[in-house]
Symmetry: C2
Subunit: 220 residues, 2 copies
């Protein structure tokens, strides 16, 4: 076990080195990058579809769509817009890592981009340990998952800058309490910026779009 | 990376050895064991609460409740019943392993048990690689997660014997299609036994309870 931990530390520090390179390269080109993380089925792809189709004309957005298996999400997202959408199939691995991102960035034109979105594998645990060189992690949680998730998976909420609470149209169909989830999340990470929205009805998306619109100016 | 894979293989084969020991010991005592796996928030704890409170008087059930952080689930389950409920907090790890189970089984009386339930960490990827010595994996999926999940996380559905589709009371509030999820799951694993139920309304639970009731006779 000691040997395993030592090797994992080595892998993580190699990952951090590569992530720092990616971060420097993106900053050099004025690209703001977001790493979207959540449980399977929280709505990452739906939120990204809305975002590309609404903002794809006014902003230059590149997207890397990670999945354990299938390129289905990438196909959905291709139809939505964006400067490019690249699938990234891990073939079983439980998270994306900096090497996978680096390989894709070597093949695409990031010079014209305002934003790079990365959709991680659906997993609330492992992706929290792997820096991809992003500016911020955006963690999604849906109202159908339960308001206790920040307490049970604290690593992800601690390392995220933004929490998107999706499926607010289903509030009232479970014991999920909005005040409880906010309190639980802010107890883990008082700096979290929080959005409440529904990718089904569109409610709350305007505030999200406005926030995204302002991101490219972050670095100017 | 080669070094990491070699070490992981060693860890997995050590895990398999321990899991085989656990399996032999449970079989010797006539205990049937189920390993419950799913995304965070699919309803493992709710299904186990129902099962303990309904069957806890007629069957001897032990439960190990795994979580990345907090003993909240174990506390909920303690109130429901069962011969024992033991929390197992991984402190960040993304799956349970055979060593953790072995350590708990050394401290409890399994002689009187009919059934051992293990609630794994909420994660559709990593727990699929770790045999805990169980007779079967039971994978839960909720209708709010999307009907594409078996295709995107095939490892877990391939290694499970049973699929429980939870939250059927929320059918119609998303694009989730029951026939599609069944087709997708059976394409990965044609042997899957499938239950459809709602832990909120109780619909469909009787068939689940009847199946559980018959498990102890499996080994007699």
């Amino acid at each position: 076990m000691v040997e395993k931990i030592a090797v994992e530390k080595k892998v993580l520090s190699e990952n951090d080195r590569l992530a720092a390179e990616i971060r420097a390269r993106l900053q050099e080109h004025g690209v703001v990058s977001l790493n979207f993380v959540s449980s399977p089925g929280s709505g990452k792809t739906s939120l990204l579809e809305w975002t590309l189709s609404t903002l794809g004309q006014e902003l230059h957005i590149g997207l890397i769509a990670g999945d354990v298996q299938t390129e289905n999400d990438a196909r959905r997202l291709l139809r939505a817009g964006g400067d490019f959408v690249r699938p990234l199939v891990t073939g079983g691995a439980c998270h994306l890592d900096a090497k996978m991102i680096s390989r894709i960035l070597a093949e695409v034109d990031i010079d014209a981009l305002d934003l790079l979105f990365i959709e991680n594998v659906g997993n609330l645990v492992c992706p929290s340990s792997y820096d991809l060189g992003e500016d911020m992690k955006v963690v999604l949680i849906s109202t159908t998952e339960g308001d206790d998730k920040p307490l049970k998976y604290p690593g992800m909420f601690r390392r995220s800058s933004v929490m998107v609470i999706n499926k607010i149209d289903l509030l009232g169909f479970s014991d999920f309490d909005m005040e409880t989830v906010r309190k639980n999340a802010l107890a883990i990470n008082p700096e979290l910026k929080i959005f409440q929205l529904s990718c089904r009805t569109g409610e709350g998306l305007d505030a999200w779009f406005d926030w995204i619109r302002e991101l490219p100016t972050m670095k100017r």
